[in-house]
Subunit: 240 residues, 2 copies
């Protein structure tokens, strides 16, 4: 059998430079909600997604033929944008063939920080497809949790645990860090009921106070599945 | 009853700026081994500890009357220094009344980063004294885990969970962040057997490979207890 590859988990976008090695595949996760929205938007037919860091940059695409713009700050949609950061905005919406320009609080920052690596995005919508791709390519993996404004959140590491479990089940991957051990422990403690386990988490409270419980349900236990793996090419996420 | 105060947990020294508020009490922990060594050295009679960041700075104190110098890098002691980062170096040693100049990989960095706040250090040796002091003072608390070279380690958050449990048992404190929730979950999963729970942790492996298992036992389940609370005054840790 060939040598096991390593999986590391980075808990926040800001810490990525401590993990960057220029050769690992980076899997960005911002479960609530950016990378779940990205999966959903591709599934709904968008052809590309441009993650941008500022509202100004996103607005510069507004009204351009073939582009739609979406933004979120502090979990809230922003006036003047076509779409927000809810996956429901993209289901049955007229987005086929469009390019989505997206800026969110944490997820787009994580994607930017990981540039220079092979970057793909993951959510529970495409987790199996992502795991199968990683197992096939058999490269070291860094799971980059977006976190919340530079601090640890609970939902992204739990997703990291789910993805790492699939990879390690293949016997082609092994854990290489304490943060992955912790992620798997947290996943295990959730006993398969993420919605209740995350009841007291900071971001679920944030979304709850904004009446976004449906979004949380959608992202934690999505009613759709997708084989689409978004990959960063230049400044765009496209379908692998 | 008065309002509950907040406890946050910062997982690495480098991330402290995300948590700094200028008014919380900061409890620095580098369980394996800096803050355990600090507790032990004070218990053995040192009167002050100067945490310095560089080997050069530490060496500048060498041979000065009343000073002893100690250093560690990558878990190993350094040639030319009187002491290393093992608590056993300080038990029954001739250190009474001396000032210890200490530089370690992560712990001294955490102490430096927290300057500007009230900074105390904690380990399982003085955990009860630290908890009682915090409960009495009833101020917001940031538990600053030193981590390992900017990345998450397992042992410091577990200690953070132990300390937070004591604080929350008083009903005067409440959790304010996902990192504390995770810390408490990890502590719970250890089932009271930290030594085995940390079997696969990166730093225990590091110490094991250096034949420092005795140090690990000492720090996780110390044979001594102390009421001494080291507090940073200017550039020195002194006894509160």
């Amino acid at each position: 059998m060939s040598e096991s590859k390593k999986i590391s988990v980075c808990f926040t976008a800001d810490q990525f430079d401590k993990y960057a090695d220029g050769k690992s595949t980076v899997v960005v996760v911002d479960l609530l909600r950016a990378t779940s929205v990205i999966s959903t938007a591709f599934t709904a037919g968008v052809k590309a997604i441009i993650p941008v860091q500022t509202l100004e940059e996103a607005l510069s695409y507004k009204g351009k033929e073939g582009y739609i713009v979406a933004a979120e700050r502090n979990a809230k949609p922003i006036e003047g944008f076509d779409y927000g950061n809810s996956p429901f905005h993209y289901i049955n919406a007229d987005v086929k063939g469009k390019t989505l320009v997206l800026t969110t609080t944490n997820g787009t920052k994580a994607i930017h920080n990981a540039r220079g690596h092979k970057v793909i995005t993951a959510s529970y919508i495409n987790i199996e497809a992502v795991a199968n791709h990683l197992i096939e390519k058999h490269n070291d993996v860094i799971i980059l949790c977006s976190g919340w404004k530079g601090v640890f959140n609970l939902e992204d590491p739990i997703f990291a645990g789910s993805l790492a479990d699939l990879l390690m089940d293949s016997d082609k991957y092994e854990s290489s860090c304490d943060s992955l051990f912790a992620s798997i422990q947290l996943l295990k403690n959730s006993n398969g009921d993420l919605f209740n386990y995350l009841r007291d988490s900071s971001h679920r409270k944030r979304l709850k106070s904004l009446n976004m419980e449906d979004d949380t349900h959608f992202c934690l236990s999505p009613p759709i599945k997708s084989d689409i793996i978004p990959i960063l090419k230049g400044d765009k996420l496209v379908i692998l």
